[in-house]
Amino acid sequence: MSLFRQAGRVAWKDLRIELRSREIVYTMAFFAALIVVVFSFAFPRDIRIVRGAAPGMLWVAIAFAGTIGLGRAFDRERENDTMRALLLAPIPRLAVFLGKAIAIAVLVLVVAAVGTPLLALFLGAPLFENPLPLVISLVLGAIGFASVGSVFAATLLKVRSRDVLLPVVLYPLLIPLFVAGTSATEALIAERVNLDAAWYWISFLGIYDAAFLVVSIWTFESLVIE
């Protein structure tokens, strides 16, 4: 219980700071909205093309905006070396990882909450025809992104070129997550909705999250201690 209580404290600390500054969430949301607007001008508003392209647009917006938020959230821990204070606290270091990952997942979900309706609005993508599986896939996507991303962002915290390195090391590992997320969304907004395929890819997302959560938990402490 202590692990989750302490993880909650770390997450709430991040969200409290963000609620006060609103720096990361505004940047992420604005960037996601910008991507959607650019895509909406770049693609013809033909519903067949939209059905094929919208899932990719949504998950690309989440990936890019999420990476910005991830980098900034960990930069905050670098500014006054507060990551050291968290790692020095008498709590399981796993609680630090979980707390950071929970806060990042919340921010990614905020991006999804901005990007999804904008895609529906600008491109007429039928994203809300099956809202429940879509929401589940986005939540699982946010958890996967946050758990893998938090490990790498924490590991690269003291590396000078971390802004460049983070997406370079992160995206190859996230490819299965984005393939599954895009495929699930595609199945949900296809002309003939394929719920079986959607749930298959959602299950894949769940397995991906479980696997990478275990790997992240296993490696986090050894990666953040110098």
């Binding site: 404290r9 409290r16 006054n80 204070a85 968290l86 790692l87 606290a89 110098e226």
Partner: protein, 237 residues
């Protein structure tokens, strides 16, 4: 259940960063009710040794044993006993002094209440009207006082201080020196890395000097400013 540390045994500790040698087989014993001045020029390995003592840097070789009475303690039990003042404040700029201390108190499973937090802030001399302001608006000296309050909040039995007098005026530095003397007399192990020999003169009772990662001098005794200066210039260069 807290177990205050009674001693730390550092044995043949070595640390490399790539091909760069930061520490080479340092052996040192720290005892409770003592204030160890860890001295040396820049790059001598002092901060690395503090990092290893804080459990945040893993040595490539050698070991550090923390004792509470006769028992060896490890992991979370050790971290609960460590208070650290580093180059950076280890505090969140968006939070106020009180919020920072409340956060860290909770992470240490303490519930100090507003009065206890104010008492710590009084001890370090952070003025009351600044306590509810975001700490990013603080001057360098105020940040240093907050960082010290964070380190003292949990009543640590091993206090690791890296240049604690930086940013403090002469009065603040002397007050801090007195505070550290009190902590030592209360049973804590105090380790101070500093170049301000005047501030620790008359208070430190253990001097260790590092040069290029090696311990070149270690002695226990009483040190006035002149003696500290002599010992430093003789061995650090």
């Amino acid at each position: 259940m807290r177990e205050p540390l009674s001693g730390v045994q550092i044995t043949k500790v070595a640390k490399r960063y790539g091909s760069e040698r930061a520490l080479a087989g340092v052996t040192l014993e720290l005892a409770s009710r003592s204030m160890c001045a860890l001295l040396g020029h820049n790059g001598a390995g002092k901060t690395t040794l503090l990092g290893i003592l804080s459990t945040l840097v893993r040595p490539n070789d050698g070991k550090v044993i923390y004792r509470a009475g006769t028992a060896e303690v490890t992991g979370i039990a050790v971290r609960r006993e460590i208070g650290m003042l580093a180059h950076a404040s280890l505090c969140y700029g968006e939070l106020t002094a009180r919020e920072n201390l409340e956060l860290f108190a909770k992470l240490y499973e303490l519930d100090p209440g507003r009065a206890a937090i104010d008492a710590v802030l009084d001890r370090v001399g952070l003025e009351p009207r600044a306590r509810d302001r975001a700490s990013r608006t603080y001057s360098r000296g105020m940040v240093q006082r907050l960082a010290l309050a964070r380190a003292l909040l949990t009543a640590p039995s091993l206090l690791l201080l890296d240049e604690p007098f930086t940013g403090l005026d002469r009065g603040g530095a002397l007050a801090l020196g007195t505070e550290l003397g009190k902590l030592r007399d209360g049973g804590a192990i105090v380790v101070v890395v500093t170049h301000d020999l005047e501030a620790i003169a008359g208070r430190t009772d253990h001097v260790a000097i590092l040069r290029r990662g090696q311990l070149v001098f270690e002695e226990r005794g009483s040190y006035d400013y002149e003696r500290l200066k002599d010992v430093y210039h003789q061995h650090a260069n």
